[in-house]
């Protein structure tokens, strides 16, 4: 069993967005679209959940967005370095089957996350339309991997590529003209929330992937709990994908910023120590 957790390839895709291919036979062999891994980069490091964004032989891919101390440090690792702990695959896989017309929306790092889902949907004979949304034209990471989708739409905040506006606006535009059987919307939680509202309006099922704060990722702490309809669910074992129309977005979003002060403090202390994060 090769569980070396070696970084065999690493690439900066955009400012603060880095791609890693990691060698781990068990993850590579067992991962299905929609699942995630947990990294612990070094002793005393945090456990960081990351969605699996591709498989190649004995390796799997994750895309890391630098947002705090742990992800800044992760992005600093180089090819040939090892991740101390890699746990996975975890979580329930996406429900992939033949639906007919499917709309998949990826925003920000979510663009990379939807790649395996889109691929599997195509493999199952679906017609797949994709909306990619980003801040500006420089953030369409890995867009070259969407060549065989049926229709590809771009949206940017500043209009530098495709439509100027937000993902959910493009979504609504498409829904007005075409009937879809199911949809996925994966990206920043505000985007997922807005897309879920559109989906509710058009009575369309929408899968979102929740990036809750996690500790163990095994259902053992309940820290990742989220209210889905009337039920309390654990994102790590019941999710991470849920029907966005049922998610209690308000509490989900406040839980995401639970440790904002602590995160800020950790990052400040870290930057004091290392200086300008030139590697991002």
């Amino acid at each position: 069993m090769n569980l070396s957790n070696l970084i065999v390839e690493k690439k900066k895709l955009a400012y603060g967005i880095h791609m890693f291919w990691i060698e781990n036979e068990l993850v590579a062999k067992n991962a299905k679209a929609g699942q995630f891994v947990i990294f612990r980069a070094y002793e005393n490091g945090e456990r960081i959940p990351l969605t699996i964004a591709g498989i190649r032989n004995n390796t799997f891919r994750v895309i890391v967005k630098a947002v705090g101390k742990s992800t800044y440090e992760l992005c600093r690792l180089k090819e040939g370095d090892k991740i101390l702990d890699v746990v996975g695959p975890l979580g329930q896989p996406s429900e992939i089957k033949k639906y007919g017309n499917v709309l998949v929306i990826g925003g920000g790092v979510g663009i990379a996350t939807i790649i395996p889902i889109v691929k599997e949907l195509k493999n199952h004979g679906n017609s797949v339309d994709v909306i990619l949304a980003a801040r500006n034209k420089d953030y369409f990471v890995l867009e070259e991997e969407f060549t065989d989708v049926d229709n590809l739409y771009y949206v940017t905040d500043d209009g530098s590529k495709g439509m100027k506006g937000f993902a959910h606006e493009m979504m609504e535009k498409l829904l007005k003209e075409k009937k879809y059987d199911i949809s996925w919307a994966i990206g920043p939680s505000l985007m997922m929330k807005a897309c879920s509202e559109v989906a509710t309006k058009y009575n369309l099922k929408v899968w979102v992937s929740l990036n809750a704060i996690m500790v163990d990722g095994t259902g053992m702490c309940g820290g990742c709990r989220v209210r889905i309809g009337n039920e309390l669910k654990y994102t790590c074992v019941d999710g991470p994908e849920f029907d966005g129309r049922l998610v209690d977005w308000e509490s989900f979003n406040t839980r995401l910023i639970q440790y904002r002060e602590e995160e800020k403090l950790a990052l400040e202390k870290y930057l004091e120590k290392v200086g300008e994060p030139t590697w991002l």
């Binding site: 101390l84 702990d85 074992v237 639970q258």
Partner: protein, 456 residues
């Protein structure tokens, strides 16, 4: 003849120890151990042994301590219990051996737990090496899933019998609740580390970071191994699920303790995982987990109140821990039940509670708490930590089709751990529901015997 008083263990000053995570009780020195051991009546029909889930020869090891043969005492213990340093510290002795000791009638039972701990610590300090007899290698492979006390025990027993054992654990450290749940101040982690090191010496292959069921399919396990032991615990926390459970500031005890114990959040930002440091904390529950969470919060500088819906008599925690918690300044609010969390901007600011009174005994024999209408009141607090119990860990079970479960979702197994699938054995909390370290170890030992018989 008047019965002599129990010899108390050496304990650190409550005010001093409540500020750090170092061990609270220092146990006995030789002199105290001997004095306590000499109190034992050496009953011809020792009732204490009946109270011990693994039937340790209690008067036997105590006699050796009384006669200063500490090494012999340790060896006797080891015959019955592979983790005496752990059990001496965490077993609920007052309802087991000490509760059954004839002297308990006088209120002065022998301090069997402290004596057990003494013998184990003495052996460790004096580097008594365990004589391990490993039988001839058998060409048979066993998978053990979960490295809590049940998995550790099964692995050790089977390795000694010459089996090839692969022990799988999903966390980055082996030990189960012993490392993520029970705090350092009650069970120093180097004790667990040493026990895990002992397994490695026995040749057990410990494989961390593996979520069995996800990284390895149950089918593969069944194909690649001659037998399987499942000891995945009852680690999934329950919530009361009252209004406001999603608020920031509401924790399960498991999360709070895992952040502190496993992830060392008490050293944040030196370590990377944060936990909320609060001025006021309410802990809900009356078991060991509640005491551990309360005393951990106290050590992070909080003013801590335990809220429990029955009276102190019904609290399931070890008596020693209730006593320690009080000494350290944890407040107790019994006959009180939270009914609602109150938040502001998504953050917890208070818990609304209702007063309770005790009615008729329920199925568990404990008197049922009944709410007193109109007695609602609000406790202001920044954090609320729920320690109201756990349920079966579904990580593996959700993937393990065909394994029969009981109506509570735990694995159906007989007293030897045999499940509905011939090759598959199970034990510990995943069979019984949340119980104790010693019961999990006992189950592991029995299952190891059953596996050996199954494969012979």
């Amino acid at each position: 003849m008047a019965v002599k008083d129990r010899i108390p263990p050496i304990e650190r000053n409550p005010h001093e120890r409540a500020k750090d995570f170092f061990e609270v009780s220092l146990g006995y020195d030789e002199e105290r151990a001997i004095l306590e051991a000499q109190r034992c009546l050496q009953c011809p029909v020792p009732t204490c042994v009946k109270g011990c889930p693994v039937g340790i020869d209690i008067p036997g090891f105590i006699k050796q301590i009384a006669e200063k043969n500490f090494e012999n005492a340790y060896k006797i213990l080891k015959n019955y219990n592979s983790l005496p340093a752990v059990c001496g510290r965490v077993c609920p002795q007052e309802v087991q051996c000490e509760g059954a000791c004839v002297l308990n009638k006088t209120g002065k039972p022998i301090s069997i737990g402290n004596l057990e701990r003494f013998a184990a610590d003495w052996a460790s300090k004096n580097q008594v090496s365990d004589q391990i007899k490993i039988e001839k290698k058998k060409n048979k492979k066993i998978a053990v899933i979960g490295s809590g006390p049940s998995g550790l025990t099964t692995s050790a027993e089977l390795a000694k019998k010459g089996y090839l054992v692969d022990l799988y654990e999903v966390f980055h450290t082996a030990g189960g609740v012993l490392v993520y749940g029970i705090p350092e101040f009650r069970l120093p982690k180097n004790i667990v580390k040493k026990e895990v090191g002992f397994l490695e010496k026995l040749g057990v292959n410990i494989i961390l970071d593996i979520p069995v069921g996800f990284a390895i399919q149950p089918q593969e396990i069944l194909e690649n191994y001659d037998a399987v032991f499942i000891g995945v615990g009852a680690g999934t926390p329950k919530f009361m699920n009252i209004e406001g459970t999603e608020l920031n500031g509401v924790y399960s005890a498991n999360e709070f303790l895992t952040r502190i114990n496993l992830m060392k959040a008490y050293e944040f930002p030196k370590t990377d995982t944060p936990v909320k440091f609060a001025k006021k904390v309410v802990v809900i529950g009356g078991g060991n987990t509640a005491m551990d969470a309360a005393r951990s919060a106290l050590r992070l500088g909080a003013d801590v109140t335990i809220v429990y819906r029955r009276s102190e008599n019904e609290m399931p925690a070890r008596k020693a821990e209730i006593h320690h918690a009080k000494e350290e300044g944890v407040k107790f609010l019994t006959l009180t039940q939270p009914v609602r969390y109150i938040g502001k901007n998504g953050k917890l600011i208070g818990v609304e509670c209702i007063k309770m009174k005790l009615g008729e005994p329920d199925e568990s024999g404990r008197r049922r708490p009944i709410p007193i209408e109109g007695s609602n009141f609000i406790i202001e607090t920044e954090l609320a930590i729920e320690a109201i119990g756990t349920q079966s860990n579904k990580l593996l079970l959700s993937q393990f089709k065909g394994l029969e479960l009981n109506k509570w979702g735990y694995i159906k197994a007989d007293e030897f751990g045999r499940t509905s699938i011939p090759k598959v054995f199970a034990g510990g909390d995943i069979v019984t529901g949340a119980a104790t370290v010693i019961l999990a170890m006992g189950a592991g030992k029995k299952a190891a015997q059953a596996i050996d018989e199954f494969l012979s």
